[in-house]
């Protein structure tokens, strides 16, 4: 048999088909949840080995840079299924590398309604909040290997918590939805002790539509209100915060492809801005020296990024990040996080560029460069290189817009 017909026969077994396919063959497992496994890993290099601290803020837990050298990235096991005709369930278990140790964490585990009337939907359990644009995306779906600085500093990369969400979709031609989340208050920038009620809440609205045959957009406005009681920073020497933390945010995304067909070329532009106000007490090294200060701060952060697919499989992306702060710290003890928090004169910023290659919908390889100028003044700019792979196996669920 000649080569072409062998190829044709091979192709005949397979079928031109969609993004994601459940791996359920005609065996007895058709009612099993759809399961997918995301594997990722990276090699990272940093020109500056100094601790990844930032002036004008107290960083939350798990906000250090990716481990230098080879390391396992965020690998996730996702299971989802309809529970019955009225409920759907979803769980994401993540395997992460934290300071050389592998940690297993339940990132999301929620049920959501499928058949409430009047355009209402309710979600219960642990979930990523629908505030902001990037917040609901799992790290494997991010356009860059790391979170924007404003996400890293204000939300410890991503706001996830236990609670309930109610969402109402208006019956309008323009996309318009309103939602609110009542949360346990474990997710940064809330957190700490005495989580015995609704210690945090959010409200958000999204508006969106199309521009011509190839463009679509969404704008979001949101608010977060959280209560922290001895919230710890997660560094080697911890800093505790007790008080209120509030964030107002706006997010914009615009996607374009010729005739709405992203096959060959497409563009994704996104930008988000957040203002966070915190008021309360900070304690440096609460288990040791216990230096305490009153703290009343305002921080502002934003990023803008664009990712362009210029030919099938290949994309390039650019991102710019910036932060500023205006903090009043009554007792800025030198050489502690209190002094770092009081340092609101500098403006942390970062330039990022990336190229990625996707062999199929299920595998992606990325090279990213960051020029990171987010450390306190006097520190050298950090030239960061990250080489990353992300693959997806099994019935990977569709991604949100």
């Amino acid at each position: 048999m000649d080569r072409i017909s062998i190829l044709a026969r091979g192709a005949a077994l397979a079928v031109f088909a969609p993004l994601c396919v459940p791996a359920q063959a005609a065996t007895g497992n058709v009612f099993n949840p759809k399961i997918s496994l995301i594997l990722s890993g990276q090699y990272a290099h940093y020109s500056n080995d100094a601790e990844a601290e930032m002036p004008g803020v107290v960083l939350g837990p798990e906000t250090e840079f990716k481990t230098s050298g080879f390391s396992l990235g965020e690998s996730e096991l996702v299971m989802e299924s309809n529970i019955d005709d009225r409920f759907h369930g979803w769980a994401t278990v993540a395997f992460e590398n934290e300071g050389g140790e592998t940690v297993v964490a339940v990132e999301e585990a929620y049920i959501n309604t499928l058949s409430l009337p009047y355009g209402l939907a309710v979600k219960l359990g642990r979930f990523y909040s629908d505030v902001g644009y990037q917040n609901h995306q799992h790290p494997h779906a991010w356009e860059f290997a790391d979170a924007p600085l404003v996400y890293r500093t204000f939300l410890a990369n991503q706001l996830g918590d236990d609670g309930a969400q109610v969402r109402w979709l208006a019956p309008t031609d323009v996309f318009l939805e309103f939602g609110t989340e009542l949360l346990r208050g474990d997710g940064f920038p809330a957190g700490g002790d005495q989580r015995d009620g609704i210690e945090a809440w959010t409200a958000f609205t999204h508006i969106g539509g199309d521009v011509g045959s190839g463009g679509s957009w969404r704008v979001g406005l949101w608010h977060f209100d959280g209560n922290a009681v001895d919230r710890r920073s997660g560094e080697d020497v911890e800093t505790g915060f007790t008080g209120d933390s509030r964030i107002d945010g706006i997010d914009l995304v615009y996607k374009w492809a010729p005739d709405g067909n992203p096959l060959v070329r497409n563009l994704v532009l996104q930008a988000e801005a957040m203002r966070r106000s915190e008021k309360g007490t900070v304690v440096y090294d609460p288990d040791g020296s216990g230096d305490t200060s009153a703290y009343d701060g305002d921080q502002f952060g934003w990023y803008v990024q664009g990712v362009y697919q210029f030919m099938p499989r290949w994309r390039v992306g650019l991102r710019y990040d910036r932060l500023s702060a205006s903090n009043s710290v009554a007792n800025p003890v030198a050489d502690t996080s209190l002094a770092l928090l009081a340092d609101d004169a500098s403006t942390p910023q970062r330039y990022s560029a990336m190229v990625d290659f996707s062999n199929s919908e299920f595998s992606r390889f990325r090279i990213q460069y960051n020029r990171d100028e987010s450390r306190p003044d006097g520190e050298d700019a950090d030239n960061q290189f990250i080489v990353q792979y992300i693959v997806s196996m099994g019935a990977h669920p569709a991604h949100q817009f």
Partner: protein, 307 residues
């Protein structure tokens, strides 16, 4: 911010207080079902096509405008067989419209009414983007459109009983014209029987089954994975022993590999609409779509070098 929100609320209230339109709102996942629903529903239906023939229906963004349309629809008409797996589940989750849930009266899957081809014996992603329920591109055979028309007309009548007689009458009319047209196309396409072709994608199983066309190769080595230069070279070499008469591809596909192959092999190409709107004059018109499809195949066969 408060001003924006209160303005938005006012707009919503205004819309809510307007009387609901009497027309049945149909959300069609693909242009062929939009055209069929329009033909069967006439003025009684308000049809929205979620995708166009210039888009790859596997790779649609579940964008805000689609969610808004989904929310307001009374009937969802899709191919099914997991063709829309990359985006429809997101519309179901975000669109908050229980009427359209799978299994609910407002959910209509066309692929349930036809015989599926190419159901794979083995499911492994090493084979590319395989599809466990068979090839979902059922609309490329007009006989399948005919098979879907009756249950779709019945569905419209079920959801809008006040106009049941209209739907029955329109179906009779459509079916008469369609049956005649299929006979005409089949007769006209007789010279295509047994003709060997190269396809851009594995998208034409039903068309080839209908006309007896023989697919000897696809430009994609594996479905859903863009063709590499090496694979194209290999195909070109293989043409010497396994000749083909033309290259068949859909309007929405990447034209570059097709142009490369046409140039190097000297084979004529047939760009087919794939769905209504995929060629000039075929917007929302199933009859014109197949007129163009058959004509372009015949034209390409005529240009084909004699072997």
């Amino acid at each position: 911010m408060m001003k924006t929100i209160s303005g938005a609320f006012a707009a919503v209230l205004l819309l809510l207080t307007q009387p609901a339109a009497a027309q049945l709102k149909v959300f069609a996942c693909e242009a062929e079902w939009a055209a069929l629903a329009s033909a069967l529903g006439g003025d009684n239906v308000d049809v929205y096509a979620a995708t166009t023939a210039l888009q790859d229906v596997h790779k649609i963004q579940p964008r805000p405008s689609l969610i808004a349309k989904y929310r307001k629809a009374d009937l969802l008409v899709c191919t099914g067989a997991e063709l829309e797996l990359g985006w429809l589940p997101q519309l179901i989750e975000k669109g908050n419209n229980a009427q359209l849930n799978p299994g609910a009266p407002g959910n209509f899957e066309a692929s349930r009414y036809v015989t599926m081809l190419e159901i794979p014996a083995k499911i492994d992603r090493a084979q590319g983007d395989v599809h466990p329920y068979g090839n979902p591109h059922i609309q490329t055979d007009p006989r399948n459109i005919g098979k879907v028309a009756k249950p779709l007309a019945d569905k419209l009548a079920e959801l809008d009983p006040a106009h049941a007689a209209d739907y029955a009458r329109r179906y009779q009319d459509f079916n008469t014209r369609w049956t005649a047209a299929v006979d005409k196309w089949t007769a006209a396409a007789a010279p295509l029987k047994g003709v060997p072709v190269i396809s851009g994608h594995k998208a034409w199983a039903y068309l080839y089954d209908w006309l007896g066309i023989r697919e000897v190769a696809t430009l994609e080595a594996k479905p859903g994975i863009p063709p590499s230069g090496a694979h194209l070279q290999e195909l070109l070499g293989g043409l010497k022993t396994q000749p083909a008469k033309m290259i068949v591809y859909a309007a929405y596909q990447d034209h570059k590999p097709i142009e490369w192959m046409a140039e190097h092999s000297g084979l004529p190409t047939a760009e087919l609409p794939f769905s209504p709107g995929g060629a000039k004059g075929t917007d929302n018109d199933l009859f014109a779509t197949f007129d163009v499809t058959v004509q372009r195949l015949l034209d390409a066969a005529k240009q084909s070098p004699q072997s």
